[in-house]
């Protein structure tokens, strides 16, 4: 990054924090509400496993670990991708035109001009909490290699989800409403992801692996650490693909984004 771009990123961040700081109490309440809403699934899993002990061989701690990857990656993701998450309304209310009128990259502005810290703290906080609760209880010895692997998987998971957000944002240029598409192709996929995909019908497993590759965000990285029995159903290499997949998906999504911007300029909104 050129130095003035770096400087601008710093100024954007400063402004975001100033804005956020205005809220104070509200910020805490909001972050907690996000935390509570996401924790709903965890609470449900907790009570369910209280009754049933294991789900396909996964106990409560392994489940928490599996979930934690979803939330940690999202917490990081939303710091950078808030602008893309909200792209639909940005286009609708005309704010996107203002970005076009500025001498800066469009995607760059969308990424750095905004960050939903409430969501970052709510999801990220939950993810970290789940990790802390489970990391010691899953019977795993953390070696330097597994720590490095874990970090790369987090980055890969962020990129995979970022690519999905970028792709859905590009679709907003063609479709009036993509909230429902987002619901299906991101949020619902994410719901499946909290559970080991081996419990689902083969068709669902296929979707989670090849259509919306959420399984690579948490299931396969978790398997690398946990090596549960149901991993034998899948090619071993899947446990290592996450970072690669993240980069490839992001590049493809970016190409589609560029194409869509051209379309926006020729058709208005």
């Amino acid at each position: 990054m050129k130095s003035d771009t770096l400087h601008l990123s710093a100024v954007y961040t400063k402004m975001i924090f100033r804005s956020w700081f205005q809220y104070r109490v509200d910020a805490i309440l909001r972050s907690f509400a996000v935390f509570a809403r996401e924790a709903t699934s965890i609470i449900v899993v907790y009570f369910t496993l209280l009754k049933f002990d294991t789900l396909n061989g996964w106990n409560i701690y392994e489940m928490l670990f599996l979930f934690s990857l979803v939330y940690v990656t999202y917490g990081i993701l939303i710091i950078f991708f808030t602008g893309l998450r909200d792209f639909g309304s940005t286009v609708k209310n005309g704010s996107f035109d203002r970005y076009i009128l500025r001498p800066r990259g469009l995607l760059y502005q969308l990424i750095f001009a905004n960050a939903d810290w409430f969501a970052a703290v709510g999801h990220g906080g939950l993810g970290i909490l789940l990790f802390i609760l489970s990391a010691a209880k899953i019977g795993v010895v953390w070696t330097p290699w597994s720590i490095v692997y874990y970090i790369f998987s987090i980055i890969g998971g962020v990129l995979i989800q970022g690519a999905i957000f970028l792709f859905l944002a590009s679709l907003n240029i063609y479709l009036l409403e993509t909230n429902s598409l987002k619901e299906v192709f991101y949020w619902n996929a994410r719901k499946f992801a909290g559970y080991p995909i081996s419990i689902f019908h083969k068709a669902i497993q296929f979707c989670m692996t090849f259509v919306v590759p959420f399984a690579f965000v948490n299931y396969f990285p978790a398997q690398f650490i946990l090596r549960k029995e149901d991993m034998s159903l899948y090619p071993g290499i899947f446990m290592y693909l996450t970072p690669v997949l993240g980069i490839v998906m992001y590049i493809l999504a970016y190409a589609f984004w560029r194409y869509s911007i051209k379309f926006y300029k020729s058709s208005g909104n």
Binding site: D26, F32, A33, T48, E177, S180, I199
Partner: protein
């Protein structure tokens, strides 16, 4: 009290819903996906067992289909009052010769009617074809189920009504509504069938309105409760609706005073 102005509001919200066709189809898909997730999880949990604690897999499936089905058209707008307070339109709305709450209900019912026809029915057809639902425990039970479901909507709506009335004082309505919904989701049986909740939780939930939303109707449908238990179930639903609405009205009166004093 004339019905026709309320019909107009209901019709308007019905038509507004239709404006986004893609969103609509996706909404149905959304319901079906959630249904599939819950059913698959329980299939795995049951692991081939016929029953757990006397509950068959088919009962579990039916619980989810009915809960999510009802949820799909039990429309409440948690932000009806707060959005009008925020943009000031509450002032003009209060001047209309119709009851504000009547309008609120009519608005929700319009959307609910739309979702009933265009979301619930298609989703139910697909669910019953591909997942399979248990037949009701009898034609009489089915009728009682429908009645209880209507009351269940009343309970859900009344909870939203009460919480909305606090909008006059709340800085952050969204946070409160989100947390309220967490409780509803976890405790109403739509995510965990209440049969599987630990005993103490079950007892606790019994003191809340949450089981009266979806679970009471489902229990009636499945014939899990009979005779006097059904009457008790209905009574609880009605009592909760009345209590919540009354409380809501009291809060509303206080809120009215507040805006008059502040000058809108």
């Amino acid at each position: 009290m004339k019905i026709s102005p309320y019909m107009a509001f209901a019709k308007k919200s019905f038509l507004q819903k239709s404006a986004y066709r893609l969103e609509h189809w996706m909404g149905i898909l959304n319901t079906l996906i959630r249904l599939v997730i819950y059913v698959e999880i329980y299939r795995a949990l049951y692991g081939g067992r016929e029953t757990v604690d006397g509950i068959t897999m088919s009962m579990v499936t039916t619980n989810f289909i009915l809960s999510l089905g009802l949820e799909s058209f039990f429309v409440v707008n948690d932000y009806y009052l707060s959005s009008r307070l925020y943009d000031g339109s509450i002032a003009t709305e209060m001047l209309l010769p119709v009851s504000f709450h009547g309008r609120m209900l009519a608005d929700n019912l319009g959307t609910a009617a739309f979702k009933l026809i265009f979301h619930f029915v298609p989703a139910m057809i697909v669910a019953c074809l591909f997942i399979g639902i248990q037949a009701p425990a009898g034609p009489g039970m089915f009728g009682l189920f429908i009645l209880s479901a209507l009351l269940g909507y009343g309970v859900l709506w009344s909870i939203s009504f009460l919480f909305q009335m606090f909008s006059f004082w709340l800085m952050n309505v969204w946070a409160v509504m989100t947390i309220k919904n967490v409780f509803i989701n976890v405790l109403s049986g739509s995510m965990i069938p209440l049969w599987f909740m630990p005993g103490f939780m079950r007892t606790l939930i019994g003191f809340t309105p949450f089981e009266s939303i979806y679970f009471t109707p489902v229990q009636i449908y499945l014939g899990k409760i009979t005779g006097s238990e059904i009457i008790l179930g209905f009574a609880k639903q009605i009592i909760w609706i009345v209590a919540l609405l009354l409380l809501g009205f009291m809060v509303w009166q206080k809120g009215q005073k507040k805006i008059v004093v502040q000058g809108g």
